[in-house]
């Protein structure tokens, strides 16, 4: 049987029905010379030659394996224990899309349930769903939850220091809604909430690394009947008070840092959690624990009535994709690290980042701009940050993100990230190199 199932006779019947004599006629709108362009592909090569060429191309990438890595800005370089890829790549986890039939997918469902449980503990909320594409889409879905909860409220308050890419995604998701996105500057507790506010969004930390306490912001939002949404670094939640414990109604977090490589920007892991009061409004899949007819522990999709396959157009969201592989990696990572391991990694990030900040602050021409931070902080630079970047990369150091890549009006700002992976000698050398390039 041919792969394309329609026969010459089928095609003729379809062409007759639309009054065309050939398939080519359907492409008449495309200029003729563009229709079948010559691809100019080189001659075929042997497997060995292809591998060598690809390895050569790959060696031109800047990767944390070959450079001292101080770049974060949303994608973080943390150590991934070998147990994570070893278990995640086991055949039992290789599965077709949407593996939710409880009769055949207990293993997958259990891994999702355990991910949800550990993630909920970390973020300080009772419920976390089976995941989203990344934190930006999770945040956008969280805001939509708030808007659908208060159909008469029209305002969303966003921090000005929200990651510029998250902001773009949120703007795109909310385009069809009749809402006003308003930015506030500084601490979330001083954001201008009112009875029009559907939700107040806070970043924990902000794009430039600032950590603001959240409890008063939660109170301010709740005092006007608005929801309080926090976009968080989940690694930070192992050391700092979780957003849930500070009164967040919805928490969105980027799970890439928990057992997933940076992957050139994706796939990432969008974590989204909420309170029991709002759990019937959370989008995406939820896996719950139950018992079968013989009283044995088992796992099933739960609270499915929220979702579009049952509620159709009235569902809170139509999203049903989750990030199975990255979620599994995070599940294994969290289980392998445990509570103490997570705290140790987070403490190392904190201590090393503060050591680096102190050194850089003592370097002539540089000044740390972030007041209170976890692992990432903003510095002002005596020469253009982009120039520092270029010169340090040649010396084997990726010094951070020149903020000018997002905002041209800020040429002398560099966002520096330090994790448990950075050694003391790397940090010392970074400070030394920063000093040299400024002279």
């Amino acid at each position: 049987m041919p792969f394309i199932a329609n026969t010459d006779a089928d095609r003729k019947a379809m062409l007759d029905a639309i009054g065309k004599s050939s398939v080519e006629e359907l492409f008449a709108d495309i200029p003729e010379k563009r229709r079948f362009p010559e691809l100019k592909l080189p001659e075929g090569k042997s497997e060995q030659e292809v591998l060598r060429e690809l390895a050569d191309l790959a060696s031109r990438n800047l990767t944390p394996e070959r450079k001292a890595w101080f770049l974060g800005a949303g994608a973080y370089n943390h150590f991934i224990p070998a147990v994570v890829p070893a278990l995640a790549s086991r055949g039992e986890f290789l599965t077709a899309y949407t593996p939710y039939q409880p009769e055949v997918a207990q293993g997958t469902l259990q891994s999702i349930f355990e991910y949800q449980s550990m993630a909920a503990e970390l973020l300080g909320v009772p419920v976390v769903n089976a995941s989203h594409y990344d934190v930006a889409t999770a945040l956008a879905e969280g805001i939509i939850m708030a808007l659908k909860n208060y159909s008469d409220r029209t305002e969303v308050l966003l921090p000005r220091d929200l990651h510029p890419e998250y902001k773009k995604v949120v703007e795109l998701y909310l385009e069809p809604f009749k809402v006003e996105l308003r930015e506030y500057v500084g601490a979330p507790e001083v954001a201008p909430v009112s009875d029009k506010t559907a939700c107040l969004v806070a970043s924990y930390p902000t794009f430039t690394g600032e950590v603001y306490p959240l409890a008063k912001a939660a109170e301010a939002a709740h005092s006007v009947g608005a929801l309080f949404i926090v976009q968080a670094d989940p690694m930070m939640c192992a050391l700092f008070k979780s957003p849930g414990a500070q009164g967040a109604d919805i928490v969105a977090a980027e799970g890439q840092c928990l057992g997933n490589p940076m992957n050139f920007g994706g796939p990432f892991l969008g974590m989204l959690g909420t309170t029991t009061q709002l759990m019937r409004k959370i989008p995406g899949r939820l896996v719950g624990q139950t018992k079968d007819s013989a009283d044995r522990r088992g796992f099933v999709l739960t609270l499915s009535t929220r979702e579009q396959h049952i509620r159709r157009e009235k569902a809170v969201s139509n999203i049903c994709s989750n990030q199975g592989l990255t979620m599994l990696q995070t599940c294994i990572y969290l289980a392998a690290m445990g509570k103490n391991g997570m705290r140790t990694v987070a403490s190392l990030c904190y201590d090393k980042a503060h050591y680096a900040a102190e050194l850089i602050n003592g370097t002539p021409g540089y000044k740390v701009q972030t007041n209170s931070f976890f692992k990432e902080f903003l510095i002002s630079t005596p020469i253009a940050a982009e120039e520092i970047f270029d010169r340090l990369v040649k010396r084997g150091f990726v010094p951070g993100l020149p903020v000018s890549r997002y905002d041209a009006s800020k040429p002398n700002e560099l966002l520096v990230c330090v994790t448990e992976v950075n050694t003391k000698s790397e940090i010392d050398s970074l400070a030394q190199l920063l000093k040299e390039v400024a002279q």
Binding site: R280, T305, R306, I310, R311, K314
Partner: protein
């Protein structure tokens, strides 16, 4: 199937029963029986003004999630908080302990547009 003779009914199976200045709203015994075991009832915030025929909440059973519509327009003055912890009250006693809202009607004459117990009985095939 029981039909509260003192209440009036919407074709979407919500009842409205006048009690002094307020109107008690819930779903009929027929509706709860059709839905099956009710596991969750979502109700609006107190103080909200909702028009007749507009959505005021959701009732979720093991079979389906159904929207609830106001049989009469008005301001929600009380919601049955007991349904949060025990939604099965709607199954057990839809006209009593399973009530959903108390409404201060905007226009009490809207009650006249609803079916009386006898007519409602006919629509669900009971005489």
């Amino acid at each position: 199937m029981s039909i509260d003779a003192g209440a009036r009914y919407a074709e979407s199976h919500e009842y409205a029963r006048q009690e002094g200045a307020t109107v008690v709203v819930g779903i009929s015994d027929h509706a709860q029986a059709e839905l099956g075991d009710i596991v969750f009832v979502e109700l609006p915030q107190v103080g909200k003004v909702i028009g007749k025929g507009q959505n005021f909440g959701t009732v979720e059973s093991v079979k389906a999630a159904s929207d609830l519509y106001m049989p009469i327009g008005g301001k929600v003055v009380e919601v049955n908080a007991a349904l949060q912890s025990d939604p099965a009250l709607v199954n057990k006693d839809p006209y009593g302990a399973g009530w959903m809202l108390k409404v201060e009607p905007t226009n009490l004459s809207e009650m006249d547009q609803l079916l009386d117990a006898k007519s409602y009985g006919k629509t669900i095939g009971e005489e």
